[in-house]
Amino acid sequence: MRISEQTTLNKKRRPLVLLFILTGLLLLLSAVSLGVGAVYISPLDIIADLAGTGASSHAFILHEYRLPRLYIAMIAGAGLAIAGAVLQGILRNPLASPDVIGVTKGAGLAAVIVIVLFPESPVFWLPVSAFLGASAAAAALMLFAHKNGVKPATLALIGIALGAIFQAGIEYFMIKFPDDVNSTLLWLAGSLWGRGWEQVWMLLPSVPFAIALWLLSAKLDILNLGDDLATGLGQKTKQLRYVLLSLSVIIIGMCVAAIGSIGFIGLIAPHVARKLTGSRHKFLLPVSALIGALFLLGADSLGRGLFPPIEIPAGIVTAVIGAPYFLYLLRREGKKA
């Protein structure tokens, strides 16, 4: 009796403590991130500047580059992580992620086409095309999955197939236009270089969609029980999946449009979160969001601070950290099966 009481108590308290700790970590990392880069800014200067008690000589760098990048890393990291967590929920597959269902690859193909075929196009074409590419990929996914009642396995398989087709397209353009390979690869890797307030405003509209997903967390929990049980509990599983998928794709599309098709965040953050807090989406989503934000912010700060003045794109850092973790995951899943 005592033991069971204790566990219920733990279960209730732990997520809140966890959220508190993660928020603290995020604030700490934000402070570090604002100081790190080719130009070092001391914590005192940062505080003085943000409090408005005297602008340091680094005010321009702080306000034009570091602050917007901080916000972008937080919002995009959180957005990709939430979308990843929801996708893993919908597909009931722990290896699902924005990359796996072909959405980021769709965005990538659209962006590559703009970079390679329309080099003279206005600057805003790139994010717009990336968003449209992601949406088109999602539309194709839902269209093909519709017949089979949008079952998780069908979604995953069709997503992988679509992703392969888009990847083939991307590679075609890269081989055909080898001179643009550098800029294409940079975009595909995903980077926060050269991103500013414009991208912050571009990302802010994704916040309400993320909140909407969080409000649907109870339904996600039910969906996780399996289609039969969920239907028994009065859920229209097909429609529910469409709604959840659309919301996630909108978030992914915005993130990818702003910073390029950055990988691994949507895969790894929800995983770590699930380990820390279990699979109740009410807590899983916010914990994922915080971990995603920490991950991207850490990756960007690292890329910026490692070899100044050269910046390593954040997407490459996330891949370097993410790929080994992914392999570890595969091994573990393999053992389970």
């Binding site: 209730k12 809140l16 959220l19 080719a38 760098i61 602050l67 500013g196 802010l204 909140i211």
Partner: protein, 325 residues
């Protein structure tokens, strides 16, 4: 159940609060930002007062006075500035100091601003330059950001032809107030190229093909490429006459074109031609049989691009092929 909902709503408010704080911070700093840009504008006004408007690839930029601190984001701009007797304060040098030393012919004191692909905006802004020269292809996405730091002109370098490159040189001269010097220098340049052409006295029936060789590709530079066009000016007919500046090719295509002279700008490390050299097809190439295959410096031939570099390429040709009397 009740307790459960309570914790949920507490957390919900927490989340909303966090977002509110985030938004407030963003709003606060964007007003700060406006104040900052006013400050920098004020600082930008120099005593000279003579303003000129430079027309470039992305519009018009007003430059006040004569820029002293200049940041060059492509190598040809460094060449142009150097030709005009100006040392750039900041260079996107891909962290290769020795490449810049080779380009300007001496060790110069400058700050590296990172790679040409992704120049470090923070470092550029910390230099507080008077003028930034950026590339039309690589840097169009950060044009607005650069413009906030200092007056920025965007010119063709990476995707430029020989003629466009000379035009860019004139525009840079205009921006730094050295139009007269530039005119004299360009006339001199034309003369040098003509003289080199006369000395080389290329066979009008012979064809030439410059190419960049990498481990997996052989990229021919056609008559529309920078080096191809320059070679045409030096009297050499390119083996591939077409609008597209570059053409990827395999050994069979090369055999079909069979140029009289092959100029290979080799990458470091393993090369696709290492394998080709054992192939009878390669040994049968006219250029190979007649000993007319030359290795050229990749930096000078395909990366630098500028008035002085073009002349250096001419000198290179003379050294390799010898004077033809």
């Amino acid at each position: 159940m009740l307790k459960w909902m309570k914790t949920g709503s507490v957390k919900g408010t927490g989340l909303l609060l966090a977002i509110a704080v985030l938004l407030a911070l963003a709003g606060c700093s964007s007003t700060q930002k406006a104040a900052d840009s006013e400050n920098t504008q004020g600082a930008g006004q120099t005593e000279g007062g003579n303003t000129k408007t430079i027309t470039h690839e992305m519009g018009e930029t007003e430059i006040e006075g004569t820029p002293k601190k200049i940041v060059a984001l492509e190598l040809s701009f460094v060449d142009s500035l150097n030709t005009l007797g100006i040392d750039a304060a900041g260079i996107a040098d891909d962290e290769k100091k020795e490449m810049i030393a080779k380009l300007v012919g001496k060790e110069t004191d400058y700050t590296s601003v990172g790679t040409r692909e992704q120049p470090n905006l923070e470092v550029i802004s910390s230099l507080q330059p008077d003028l930034i020269i950026a590339d039309a292809e690589r840097h169009k996405n950060v044009y607005e950001d650069l413009q906030k730091i200092a007056p920025t002109i965007v010119l063709k370098s990476r995707e430029s032809t020989y003629q466009e490159n000379l035009d860019a040189f004139s525009t840079i001269a205009q921006a730094v107030g050295k139009e007269e010097e530039a005119k004299t220098r360009l006339a001199e340049h034309e003369k040098t190229i003509e003289e080199t052409k006369a000395k080389l006295k290329a066979d009008p029936n012979a064809t030439i093909l410059p190419a960049v060789v990498r481990d997996t590709s052989f990229q021919a530079h056609t008559s529309s490429s920078y080096d191809g066009e320059l070679l045409e000016h030096l009297g050499f007919k390119n083996a591939i006459q077409q609008e597209e500046p570059y053409a990827e090719m395999n050994l069979e295509q090369l055999v079909e074109i069979d140029p009289d002279i092959l100029l290979l700008a080799n990458n470091d490390g393993k090369l696709i031609t290492d394998e080709w050299k054992n192939n009878p097809l390669w040994k049968n190439l006219k250029a190979v049989k007649n000993g007319q295959v030359y290795d050229v410096d990749r930096d000078l031939w395909t990366r630098f691009r500028g008035v002085a570099s073009a002349e250096a390429i001419g000198a290179d040709m003379l050294k390799m092929l010898g004077e033809n009397k």
